[in-house]
Amino acid sequence: MSVVKLDGLVALLEGFPALTGVDLTVNAGEILFVKGPNGAGKTTLLHLCAGLIQPKDGTGLILGHDLSSERTAIRKRVGLLSHSSGLYRDLTVLENITFWTQIAGVEQSEIDSRISWALERMELDSKLQNQKVRSLSAGQIRRTSLAVFIVRRPDLWLMDEPHAGLDQEGRQIVDDLIEESVAAGATAIVASHDFERVLKLSTRVVTLSGGAVVGVEHEGNQ
């Protein structure tokens, strides 16, 4: 079953054609590695798959929902880790993660256990939990964003440079998380510059250039 099915997708950022006709199919359980030079359209592709951009042309299905008309349904089920933290600077780590868990509509009975699981996985100890995001280091902010990301348990993981700003240990945690989630039934699309690391992880590699897929390689660990 394909989780992502894009057919000739064109997307504009203001007047600029960031995506110029993307054909791409991602099957359930895949870890797709998207590589390409800066400005190739990687970030836009992830935003498009998250249902944040109205496509200019082409058709697409994400998790069975139409990309033009059912983007609300798509948004609920995907997770997006982007360059920005997506956090509120003046709230503490714990307040941020609590807010984002509650707003995502997680069952009341499950909230506490999920939050403590996410905090534990990202190794955010109780001292850090009560610090304002404003006062954290870049790596700690990234861990907090990741905690917010995993606490929602999305079906489709869209990750833009997930390793950026993390130390070796943090990068390993991210890799483990992706593998675990995919084993549990999720699908992941990862855009990264960290070739070697993601290559080991991925089931397939596509190269993006000029806003379109220019190469597909079936390599990686399968």
């Binding site: 203001e14 998250a50 944040l52 109205q54 008309s69 059912e70 983007r71 609300t72 948004r75 609920k76 995907v78 997770g79 997006l80 982007s82 920005s84 933290s85 997506g86 956090l87 509120y88 600077r89 003046d90 709230l91 307040e95 807010f99 984002w100 509650q102 707003i103 995502a104 509509g105 304002k132 917010v148 929602r152």
Partner: protein, 224 residues
């Protein structure tokens, strides 16, 4: 429905918590409001009587100017680190986002109104003749301002458009609120022989209409 109210509460609570932490309103907007009152007093070179006569108008102009700042601030919170993207992805009803932000701005404005109210009583020597009229008008008018302000705040900043657009889009539309609230205050402060409660009814009606229009516009704006 329960989910909607819970989400509104979450968003309002979050915004107010951020305000309590960052104190932008208390440290920057409130002094600005006080500054306006003082500037009017100096610029109009007014004697006590005319300041007293103008008090309600000056009060509401100050509220509108402060509202512009509060709305900008409210939008900045969501935009700085792209938290708005997260809100959109969370699957929360856009109406909840709209109402949640509106409530938060309204509560902050209400605090400012109390502050400004004390200001005009102390600085302009206004005398309160009808406290209930004052309170009810202040409450409804600030909801109207917040509702329309939230919509235009999202319109002007959410779409990557310059924030300088906000005043010119918002202020003309709020003119009826300004007029109604000013007149009601005139009566409540005993400076004009008008029927303040009629004006209050007008403001309350406007509040309902503008909030409904705001919610409708928000619905249209939320991309489906």
């Amino acid at each position: 429905m329960k989910r909607l109210f819970a989400d509104i509460g979450l968003i309002t609570g979050k915004d107010l918590k951020i305000e309590l932490r960052s104190r932008v309103l208390i440290n920057q907007v409130a002094p600005f409001a006080l500054m306006i009152l003082v500037l009017f007093g100096i610029a109009l070179d007014a004697d006590q009587q005319s300041l007293k006569n103008f008090a309600s108008g000056l009060f509401w102009i100050s509220v509108l100017l402060c509202a512009l700042m509060a709305i900008s601030r409210s939008m900045t919170i969501e935009r700085d680190d792209e938290a708005l993207v997260g809100l959109n992805l969370s699957g929360v009803d856009p109406i909840a986002i709209f109402l949640g932000k509106t409530c938060a701005i309204a509560i902050q404005l209400l605090v400012l109104e109390i502050f400004l109210g004390v200001g005009i009583i102390l600085l302009y020597r206004s005398e309160v003749e009808d406290l209930w009229l004052l309170v009810s008008t202040g409450l409804f008018a600030c909801i109207a301002v917040s509702a329309l302000g939230t919509i235009f705040g999202f319109l002007a900043s959410g779409l990557g458009v310059r924030e300088t657009l906000l005043p010119i889009l918002l202020l003309p539309l709020l003119l009826p609120v300004l007029i109604g609230a000013t007149r009601a205050f005139d009566d409540a402060l005993g400076v004009a022989a008008v029927n303040g409660w009629n004006w209050f009814a007008f403001v309350a009606g406007l509040t309902v209409i503008l909030t409904a229009v705001g919610a409708g516009a928000n619905h249209l704006m939320a991309e489906n």
